[in-house]
């Protein structure tokens, strides 16, 4: 029997779980959450750890070494802020954005073609954690890349630069950016249509580790327990990646994680099925994909959700006979008081509408579509983006969806999305909906590298199937 502890340091709560592994069977023993101590993350961490182990809160960390195997993740400091540069918006820039998001980052800004002065000013103002710099196939365009490298060299940007563009000019890029920290990795698109996100993702992860560990006490944890943290979204990404491989009946799945500041959408399914009547345009997206929406969230981003999500909200308010002004007043209130919980039936309904809106727009941006076209050879569908029709399970995670009591919170907005403009969205055709009731996804994500079979088994077993009744 082995004791395993997983801790996730979030921006407001530090969550922990104590697991026991016996006969290849992983079981959750204890779960807790303590407030995150922003200026010294170790405090919250050790409070969680002592709590899980049933020790006195003031036990020095040193004395806990060896009491259990320890894994942890962190999304503190608002996660990983990435700026992306590509060449053509639909090709290398799109891949740069996907690579950044699937590495657990949040894309703060993205730029195509050559950087303008205002782009540079924008970048300097943003001061992202990482700049992902791509463009050109191997042996392809170099002019834009070199021009942008020259401009970046002259900028006040201080963050590390991950170069994942045309390999033929990698050395020149390094020379031009001699005053910056440059990490060269494989091209995101070595040839047109060839997608190669993994190497850049790995580099981003390494930088994240260094950066996050260096601040606010985490180095101590790493040294004591010999374990590296991962970004929380990456932990979930790894779990979603591993589930189909180890739990065959969960071959195609999606997960939606609605938080206070962002909404994350994960999918693991083949993105395009080639047939005579469906033609794919643009890049073929990876099987495992994460998108993160910084304007969709239940609290910190409630105000921007109101802007981005207005068309959906307006329709729903009308259907339910609710006042737009009341919703706006509610959003003002929760934006001021981020810990506010609904105090009336109407407020609960507003929260639910906000969650539906997060589902609707994150799905809209994550999922691809078909446009019908008539050709002399007959009707053809032109597909852009990712096909999620074969997804059988949609999992709700994050504070709000973990507590969902009905599948309708997710089903309803997805049904409304069936057609969007001229497009037929490639939504899951017959989805079952589940809630990550015990909020284990990020905790189990930390364990998946070491215990893929056991962690994925517990992950799916811990899900609660949602019905359509309220």
């Amino acid at each position: 029997m082995k004791k395993i502890i997983s801790i996730d340091i979030g921006s407001t709560w530090t969550k922990g779980g104590l697991f026991v592994l016996a006969d290849k069977n992983l079981k959750l023993e204890k779960r807790l959450a303590v407030p995150t101590t922003q200026n010294n993350l170790v405090q919250g961490f050790s409070q969680a750890l002592t709590g899980l182990l049933g020790k006195d809160e003031n036990t020095p960390l040193k004395e806990l070494v060896g009491a259990a195997e320890i894994y942890f993740s962190s999304s503190a400091k608002g996660g990983l802020r990435i700026a992306a540069i590509g060449l053509v918006p639909d090709l290398t820039l799109q891949l740069a954005r996907l690579a950044a998001m699937s590495a657990g980052g949040k894309v703060m800004a993205s730029f195509a073609f050559s950087l303008t002065r205002s782009d540079l000013a924008n970048l300097e103002k943003l001061q992202p954690d990482i700049l992902l710099f791509s463009g050109g196939t191997d042996g392809g365009n170099s002019q834009y890349i070199l021009e942008n490298a020259r401009k970046l060299a002259g900028s006040a940007l201080t963050c590390p630069v991950v170069y994942a563009g045309n390999r033929a000019v990698a050395e020149e890029v390094v020379e031009l950016l001699h005053n910056k920290e440059v990490i060269v990795t494989e091209n995101l698109m070595p040839e047109v249509g060839q997608v190669n996100l993994e190497p850049a993702r790995e580099k981003i992860r390494e930088i994240f580790l260094k950066r996050i560990v260096s601040g606010r006490g985490l180095a101590e944890i790493v040294e004591l327990f010999g374990t590296q943290p991962r970004p929380t979204p990456l932990a979930v990404f790894e779990l979603v990646s591993a589930i189909p491989a180890h739990q065959p009946e969960w071959s195609d799945l999606a997960a939606i994680d609605i938080g206070g500041a962002t909404t994350d959408f994960y999918s693991n399914t083949e993105s395009y099925l080639e047939t005579d009547t469906v033609v794919l345009k643009g890049i073929r997206e990876p099987r495992v994909k994460r998108t993160v929406e910084g304007d969709l969230g239940m609290r910190v981003s409630a105000q921007s959700l109101l802007d981005s999500g207005w068309p959906y909200l307006e329709e729903r308010l009308q259907e339910l006979g609710l006042w737009a002004e009341s919703l706006k007043a509610y959003v003002d209130r929760i934006s001021r008081d981020l810990d506010y919980l609904p105090g009336s039936e109407e407020e609960s309904l507003f929260d639910r509408l906000l969650a539906e809106t997060c589902v609707y727009y994150s799905a809209l941006r994550h999922i691809g579509g078909w446009k019908e076209t008539y050709t002399p050879q007959g009707r053809v569908y032109v597909q852009t983006g990712k096909d999620l029709r074969r997804v059988k399970a949609v999992i709700g995670s994050g504070g709000f969806l973990s507590a969902a009591t009905t599948a309708q919170i997710m089903r309803h907005p997805l049904l409304k999305l069936k057609t969007y403009g001229q497009e037929r969205k490639l939504l899951p055709e017959k989805p079952e909906f589940y809630a990550d009731r015990q909020y284990l996804f990020s905790l189990l994500g930390n364990l998946v590298e070491k215990y893929p079979v056991e962690a994925t088994a517990l992950a799916v077993a811990s899900l609660e199937k949602l019905n359509d009744e309220e």
Binding site: L93, S110, S114, D138, G139, S142, E191, V192, K281, V380
Partner: protein, 189 residues
């Protein structure tokens, strides 16, 4: 863009030295057999072929040409609507900074029995460098392509990074300077 037949790829470095050409069938045209033949043929002729397949829009041809620094775009059209589909192609290339790229077009370009000379003139007026009838000798076409590339890009045009500027003294790069604002994408999230 579907993943292409990559099984018989040359070693990558060798590939990086070759002249890249973009291939595809324009418009709402699904004829894929000839397209595959062209890919095999031009690959065997020593070109680095980026085949975009069927139902390719002007913008897609141009996107691929920018990323790969291609020397030529070879447009096929077999269903008779080529004239409409190809309208404004050269202008869009210029607009997007591809001011030296070679444009070839071939196939059943118009409906009916228009004499080929008239078809050719039409497409040349549109800015295509070469226009081919359906029964063209591909060997000849490849030879012309090599010649045209040599003429336009200089004799030592191959090499991993010439950006269409090889064979010319270093000078201001028109492709970089004047970009229209609409093809930029400074999305700020």
């Amino acid at each position: 863009m579907q993943p292409k037949n990559l099984s018989n790829r040359e070693p990558e470095f060798k590939n990086m030295e070759k002249d890249t050409i973009i291939l595809g069938v324009i418009g709402a045209d699904c004829h894929s057999v000839g397209n595959k033949i062209l890919e095999l043929f031009f690959t065997a002729e020593g070109f680095k072929v980026v085949n975009l397949g069927v139902m390719v829009s002007q913008q897609e041809f141009i996107n691929a040409a920018i990323e790969t620094n291609a020397k030529a775009i070879l447009v096929s059209s077999l269903y008779g609507h080529g004239e409409i589909d190809c309208q404004g192609f050269r202008d869009l290339c210029l607009e997007k900074g591809l001011d030296r790229i070679l444009l070839y077009v071939g196939g059943n370009l118009v409906v009916g029995k228009t004499p080929f000379e008239i078809v050719e003139e039409k497409f040349k007026k549109m800015g295509f460098d070469r226009v081919f009838p359906p029964d063209v000798d591909l060997k000849k076409a490849a030879e012309l392509l090599r010649q045209d590339i040599k003429e336009r890009f200089g004799s030592n045009s191959t090499g991993p990074r010439n950006d269409g500027q090889a064979g010319q003294p270093e000078k201001s790069t028109p492709e970089a300077g004047a970009r229209s604002t609409e093809d930029r994408d400074p999305k700020a999230e």
